[in-house]
Symmetry: C2
Subunit: 198 residues, 2 copies
């Protein structure tokens, strides 16, 4: 499916876009194909885009004080991703946004966002609901991270996002869960044994 | 200041509310005075309100597997707070929302939200921006929590929210930072010594 059509379907799940407005709305979003491991954003740059994933997978990470990449978010089909601090203030970011797989995405520029909202109030509703969902997921994530052990965190993740855990490199998943790749592989081994015995 | 006036000022920082719509908009929000330590929401209930803090301070917490209260969020003047999962799905919550101080708040009911958005599109813009900011803060929080030691987390917190750290009970602040009250008091002692020597 053409990626703008995919966005149009997604818009219509969350807001009413008048038929005559749709072409103008979609024109704000520019399709980009991004190669596996290519960076859309690098630390020190200003984040100028908000990204919608049509196909593939993006991740956002920073380089921590030990020099390791720490993944803080993934975005798959029909998810939005940006560094909201850098995007909304147009100040330099500490984050990288990278394609985990070859990905087809749409990008809207910071400067295009306000004209779009002014011309198309239906998009206020769409993004109100997108941010609400993103924030809801993040609130639940906080609870999970405070409360769960590495093993339970992994179980929560594979239940919350079925199929996704096997799709991404396991060292990235471990980093996201805040555990070592070795510990993740121990957990998976233990769970496999558990499910065979159970 | 009357709390609805305070909300009106806040609305106008983020959206244009036509003068003739304002009374109708404000009528969706019901003032509540809540005593210190009173619960607005308890685990097992459905979260029916989204709260705006006019004066005072609310916190959201859950009881973790060890039986301890784990604070995940605070809300002070001009902040919004709810459990978005329970609020938007109208399913039972795992969270408590409690007044840290005697607080004056406004509450909008779940059932009133959609009629308000339909009647007043300016409120879509307002909440789009509120959620965007909340999500931005949460994204930065993720980075901070992955990266910082207890001491740096405390320094980050007192810089990001000046004056706030001294206002709330220190055991709540420690819980929010994910450290013990004893460790927090060690950190503060060390920083006081550091600043005297520095």
């Amino acid at each position: 499916m053409e990626i703008r059509k995919q966005l149009a379907l997604h818009l219509r799940q969350y807001t009413e876009v008048p038929e005559q407005e749709l072409p103008s709305v979609l024109a704000y979003f520019r399709p980009i194909t991004v190669a596996k491991k290519a960076n859309l954003l690098e630390a020190g740059q200003v984040c100028r885009h908000h990204y919608f994933v049509g196909k593939g997978c993006l991740r956002m990470f920073f380089v921590n004080e030990k020099g390791n990449e720490q993944t803080v978010q993934f975005a798959i089909e029909n998810w939005w991703l940006t560094d909201h601090l850098s995007f909304s203030t147009q100040q330099k970011t500490d984050f990288f946004i990278q394609a985990v797989e070859r990905s087809e995405i749409l990008a809207i520029e910071f400067n295009a966002q306000e004209p779009m909202f002014q011309a198309h109030p239906c998009m206020e509703r769409y993004f109100r609901r997108m941010y609400e969902i993103a924030y809801r997921v993040s609130q639940q994530g906080m609870k999970v991270r405070y409360n769960l052990s590495g093993e339970d965190l992994y179980l929560h993740f594979i239940n919350a996002f079925p199929g996704f855990a096997n799709r991404i490199p396991q060292y990235l998943l471990a980093s996201y869960l805040g555990i070592t790749p070795e510990y993740l592989s121990e957990i998976k081994k233990k769970l496999r044994i558990g499910s065979r015995e159970g």
